[in-house]
Amino acid sequence: MNVTINMMYEDSKLNPHLFDTDVEQIPIRQGFGEGLLSAGEIDERVVGLCADLTDSTKMNLFKEKFPERFIEMGVAEQNLASVASGMAAMGKIPFITSYAMFSPGRNWEQIRTTICYNNVPVKIAGSHAGVSVGPDGGTHQAIEDIALMRVIPRMVVISPCDSIEAKKATLAAAQINDPTYIRLAREKTPVITTVDTPFEIGKALTVWAPSEGNAEVGIIATGALVYKALCSAHILQEQGIRVKILNMHTIKPLDVSAVISLAKETKRIVTVEEHQIAGGLGSAVAEVLAEHNPVPLRFIGIKDRFGQSGEPEELLEEYGMGVTHITDAVIALTRV
């Protein structure tokens, strides 16, 4: 793909090959596994607990290095959350993993009461979020988890866009005292960022901006779909439509000033997430803008449906989260 690199925000130090057809692809969960290993090396208070999915959540990297700090919980997600709470009360920094559908899906009340109400620094890594889980089908596709987590007081919610960002998010999560949810995906995902890309919890990252002048439409994206948003921006650029994209890796606390500033600049916003529109990133953005700076909004996400079996790409298309959908939403907004 012939791309004008200078359209990508220079300060973000993104992967210069991200629009190459052979762009490197790594599962986001891999970054979590590496980040947890590093966090464990840095801080001996870090412990790992897993509900019988150690390899597929990539906690195996930590387990192999620190077997004495790893607890195999069996298939018991409610216990997973509350045992971690008890360990945190004794000074540990527990990371718990399962598929997002089961943790935080099944154990929501335990997370609310024993982790957040107790105010202990448990870190919840939910893997296999989104419909891009693919063939396993709707039972295993967590598309409500952002909503479930962001509604709980004190919970920090992070949805990294690639494996490198997931590693940084995991390391950062280990260093804050708040309960934290890290949303991970199963599939290999194009690597957008580099080790030099800035990452700070609660601070949105501009990943695309016009080389000069204001953008006409602002895109706020999270997770693996940040890549789709970038692909869309590239197409829109060729059509002469200038957009600006925020990678909103932290959904809570939301970078309110970045959202308002983008809305003031572009007057039009599209949100992009692999999640139900109800309660997710789009809702969070809408809450801010409705109160502070109302502008026309369009939401790319799942419209009150369950997932199903299929290949990740065909599911993203079926549920309206492909590049074309984003592009069409932006173009439609320019006419508002």
């Binding site: 045992v83 008890g86 009360a89």
Partner: protein
Amino acid sequence: MSLTHDEICELKEKANAVRISLIEALLEAGSGHTAGPLGMADIFTYLYFHQLKHRPQDPDWADRDRLILSNGHICPVLYAVMAHAGYFPLSELKTLRKFGSRLQGHPHREYLPGIETSSGPLGSGLSQAVGMALADRIDHGKTSSKFFYCLTGDGELDEGQNWEAIQLAGKERLHTLITIVDRNNIQIDGFTEDVMPLESLKDKWESFGWHVIEIGGHNFEAIDTACDQAQAVFDKPSVIIAYTIPSKGVPEFERDFRWHGASPGKGPDDIVPKGEQGILALKRLRTLGERVCNECND
């Protein structure tokens, strides 16, 4: 070492004072649970005045034993015993359940120093106690001097999460973990064996790898012996199934599941009119207290 006659007398007198305090607090609050707190007053008194390593003036002391109350709704007895132990003034018991109080309707660890875990939603206390014991073992190995006492209700054992925790504790052989089940046979909707049969509780816990001790929960010598035994068991968690009488100390309220969630003045009125429930409860407990004193002074 078994309890002396004097120690037992002191515990009996203290437990009665705790019962009176918790009834006074419930009357002031106008709501709250009666049966469980009265039934567990002896065990709480024993733990706080004889067994626990704790420092009421230094509630965050790192080497303290941990008491994790899983069935948070019986917190009036926890608050009352903590006040008597010196964690906070007895007068503060009058703030129970009121706006701005440290004594929340169900315990909150951030509000009141000395509360280890927030609780109320049933079935998660044991998991947290397991987590604490696991963390302590990582730090101090199998020779840790701390014990983790988790107090649960019996109706609460309907919750599946308990059994997740029970099997993990068995697998991990957490011998510093001691669970005390308040086997009072009642829950909100009725008697436990009618609502959801729990028996044979002993066999269930044993089959999950626990050492099981069954005692009468109002007998201080039995409570003491059971705790001694539980502490001596190595490489296995212990559970003390304590058979208690709900609403113990107020005969008109005893064994009646309708007193599970009612406070005096709000309870069933077919035996005692609502308006007389509070006065009667205090009268019965004061009479009981005088009897205890007389017995002990003989």
